[in-house]
Point group: C2
Chain length 578, copies 2
């Protein structure tokens, strides 16, 4: 289990801080993650990777010359936000555009995709690639749905080496796609992991059993069997990976392959070597030449006990990219010409010290919004443990932590914005970005959408009307449905947000003042939250223990309902000018 | 726990094989361990390190340019034999002599010390250095008794960098001693580890507790307390290490130090970074400049959960040696000029394909000895589980495994020697070396001494007499007492060997034929073995659970008694010419 932490909500931030302190000559912290500490040639494509924390050396440990140019670092097991990805990409790019590469998980796809749109819109060409090497996560005919595991390394490495060689963005992207198409991984696990601050494992494997294909966050695998010998484990891994050759590879014999035998955390080095001994024999027997094999911990899941085998079937183009030198904190190969260290430009990091102009009316509205964000934060603080417990029934129990991080970050950003004289829209935009950054994950992104939509409706100029507030909520509702892909009945926060929005719109149209209308709508929200208490699957990543969720409301729906009720009080004295 | 293995007795060998397969460009397997795969400049001092398996990257992972020239690799948690160390040193050395460096554990001290004598005797200057960085293992006034933990790395690195710089053996040794004198480590643990094939942990820490100063094989620490926060753990580690400054360091402020935050196996990277964040703050507050800090797994104990902090207080001489480039499988730093790969000379590895001349009489005696070794091996095979269970009461339960590895190796070597026409002395010497190599640990060394002493008494020429056999056993008894440092009453195999030897000598002097004399002596041995069943401490490394041993005979004494009884049958038809 994970034992050493301070405030669990601060774990990922503190780990990043310690990581950067340990590797000052390779990485430099920037908002949202890390970039290389070394100078990159102007015009070189930047390969920006990322994902949740808890998988070191993925992803920050893979930043350095010859490997990634930057890594966006999310909270524990949660995607970084689009804003984080964008910030890291902006710090990493030097005029050649950006390839965003990540494991193919719902939250990552969503945020890296959004970031690519934002970057492109501001004139930085950006492409995306979700790595899909995990054979156990979908069948071959749905290979695009597969998750990314240790194959990340091969894909990142090939893309980065191509970038270092001066290839343009189209080519770097093509090479990343080629490497991904030729990479397969398969793994087994003997235990799960316990998240920082948790008192029970996020997922488990029964003692003496082996879970075949279990995902690194506990995503369901392909069944269990007794723990095998090391040789039997090697035989299962090799036969499975050799059993599904990529397009263009007719037979293993005569092929050359990048080989990774990856430990998930507490299957340790000597065990990995005992397994690799047999893997090497079997590959040799099959006529496969292992090129620069890696045996160690490349993608972990805290102290999860497991091992996975990755093969990337090399081509003449891919092999030199795999064997090219690299110098990252957790991955070094060959001899890199050391580049100069970057001297950070402090002016580049002060962009948020000013706000656009706003009217006095909008500033007054901003103060009301700030009060609402304060109530929101306080409500989340009081209920964080309860939200965690509810989430633990069907999910990974981090909803309370995520909501606390998000609402605290949003409130703090709003306080800064208010001090700078922000109007309601700007204040909510800053709060939205901060929430998404700090909370991470799907829920962080959705709350970012909510705050931003309401902010857009309020503007920085006029005194907002109750109708405008209702319109903002309606837009938030639409945005959440679009971004998350869930609809009413899917047992998510949409089940609460939609009736709340309908009721608020109806009541304001009927001429009720905001405080009254909000109160009415909040009652609808509470009733809707209770109605989410059943068995249906939730939005977001796979939740292996969903069958346990009977009778418990969805945590996201529940927190939204709590918040809209609590916020009601803020509107009683103000904003009532419909 | 350790889950993946095949035959647990083969674990260390198979791990080494897989390790070498994974790192063909850095290391090359030789009898006894590994050496650099790259060419070393002629006349350069060779730094040969080593110790038991189970601590990767210690020790084989630290072999490569700029770091160790070779590593002798023992069985799990057992020292390599003197013969192994000598073989690795001979393969590594290029005319500049050898520094043998290892952690200061009884078995390692014994075997590396013996190896240094053997090497010196054959004209290869050799020095030894046992690293003593573990503050919790003895008080400052007995610092020479301290064990070696992650400080190994700093000492090996400084010595190897000095060797690479062309310094002669005296200087390399002085630098290793200087680095050792200025290095301090302190650690905490949250769980023990389970050895390959074992069904229960070798040692444990109660859930929710932290063992302060617990050794990497479960050696007793300084007490327990509740698991602290990461910051509190950092504060304990830093304040303890800063609390005992080496000679010549007046105060921390203004000092520069090599810093290692080491994970023992399943305290994982992000946790280590969270702890390091606070370690870095505290060192900065104390005015200590951390030079090239390392945060990761440098000395492990399978999946033991623990963390240790090491500081080496640098001097102007030590700092460039710490920061010099290195390129080992598990430790890479800076930019090394890649050296050419060595093309191994196959003729160098066939030294044991011939035997010295022997008479027909001695060859006949050798066949009797071979039969005895076969009986010995079969006896051990039958009783291996029982020996393991007995040893588990007071020790680490590996006596059965060690005896099986040793007796099987000895028998196989004897079969080869017999095929080549060896006399009794040569056959027993080959068997002795093989036993010590394969079994490792203190027990392996002692059995090596026994077989070698008997062989010397038998010679390669004459038909041995019963008196010569008894004389050989007496010399074996003296050798075991000298090497192991135990005497009768210390509850070790000496308690059996001495009365057996006395009885055998007396009976042969009284004119009994060997078979009769041996039978008499074997009865004494059995009685003596039973008498070892009490509470007294055992020879060899610390055994934290000695208080549990009431009523159980010492495993080493028990196995010796079993063997001498079983071997008796071999002598009935032969060797009876007193």
């Amino acid at each position: 289990m994970t034992r050493l932490s301070n405030d669990p909500a601060a774990f990922a931030d503190e780990a990043l801080e310690g990581f950067v302190a340990a590797h000052p000559r390779r990485v430099r912290q920037v908002p949202g993650g890390v970039v290389r500490a070394t100078r990159t040639a102007p015009g070189q494509v930047a390969v920006v990777v990322g994902g949740g924390s808890g998988h070191y050396p993925a992803f920050s440990g893979l930043v350095g010359q010859g490997l990634a140019h930057g890594a966006a670092v999310g909270n524990v097991f949660a995607s970084p936000s689009a804003h984080q990805v964008r910030q890291v990409a902006r710090a990493a790019e030097t005029g050649g555009g950006v390839l965003l590469a990540y494991g193919n998980y719902a939250g990552d796809v969503l945020h890296f995709g959004q970031a690519a749109e934002l970057l492109t819109a501001e004139g930085i060409p950006a492409r995306t690639l979700g790595v899909t090497d995990d054979m156990s996560s979908a069948s071959p005919d749905e290979a695009h749905k597969r998750r990314g595991v240790a194959g990340d390394l091969v894909v990142f490495k090939a893309a980065a080496a191509a970038a270092e060689a001066g290839q343009p963005l189209d080519q770097v992207t093509r090479i990343a796609e080629l490497a991904n198409a030729r990479t397969r991984s398969f793994g087994v696990a003997f235990s799960g992991c316990t998240l920082p601050g948790a008192d029970h494992p996020l997922f488990t494997v029964p003692e003496g059993r082996m879970a075949v294909g279990l995902g690194i966050h506990g995503e369901p695998g392909m069944g269990e069997r007794p723990v095998p010998t090391a040789d039997e484990a090697a035989e299962l891994l090799v036969s499975t990976v050799l059993g599904e050759l990529p397009e263009g590879v007719e037979a293993p014999r005569g092929q050359r392959a990048a080989v990774i035998l990856n430990g998930l955390g507490s299957v340790k080095y000597e065990e990995l070597f005992v397994v690799y001994r047999r893997v090497a024999q079997l590959l040799a027997d099959a006529g496969v030449e292992a090129v620069d094999p890696e045996v160690g911990e490349l993608v972990t899941s805290f102290d999860m006990a497991g091992v996975s085998l990755t093969l990337c079937w090399l081509t003449d183009e891919l092999e030199p990219l795999w064997t090219a030198p690299a110098d990252a904190p957790a991955y070094r190969k060959g001899t890199v010409d050391p580049a100069d260290l970057v001297v950070p430009d402090p002016s580049a990091e002060t962009a948020e010290d000013t706000v656009p102009p706003a009217t006095d009316e909008s500033r007054e509205a901003a103060r009301t919004v700030l009060a609402a964000l304060r109530v929101l934060k306080d409500t989340v603080d009081v209920h964080a443990d309860e939200l965690g417990r509810i989430d633990a029934v069907a999910g990974d129990g981090d909803h309370g932590i995520g909501m606390r991080r998000g609402s605290t970050g949003a409130y703090e950003a709003a306080v800064r914005a208010e001090t700078l004289g922000a109007g309601a829209e700007t204040l909510l935009q800053r709060a939205a970005d901060a929430w998404a950054d700090r909370a991470g994950g799907t829920s962080g992104a959705l709350w970012g959408v909510i705050l931003r939509a309401v902010g857009t409706a309020l503007g920085d100029t006029a005194r907002p009307t109750a109708a405008e507030v209702a319109s903002g909520v309606a837009q938030a509702s639409a945005g959440v449905r679009e971004l998350g892909g869930a609809e009413v009945g899917d047992k998510t926060m949409v089940d609460v947000l939609v009736p709340f929005s309908y009721a608020l719109t109806a009541a304001t149209r009927a001429g009720q003042p905001l405080a009254t209308a909000w109160d009415t709508a909040a009652h609808s929200a509470s009733a809707a939250a209770e109605a989410t208490a059943d068995l249906l699957p939730r939005m977001g990543r796979a939740r292996p223990h969903a069958e346990k969720s009977l009778g418990t409301p969805d945590a996201g729906a529940h927190s939204l309902a709590l918040i809209v009720r609590a916020v009601h009080g803020v509107f009683v004295p103000t904003l009532e000018n419909h």
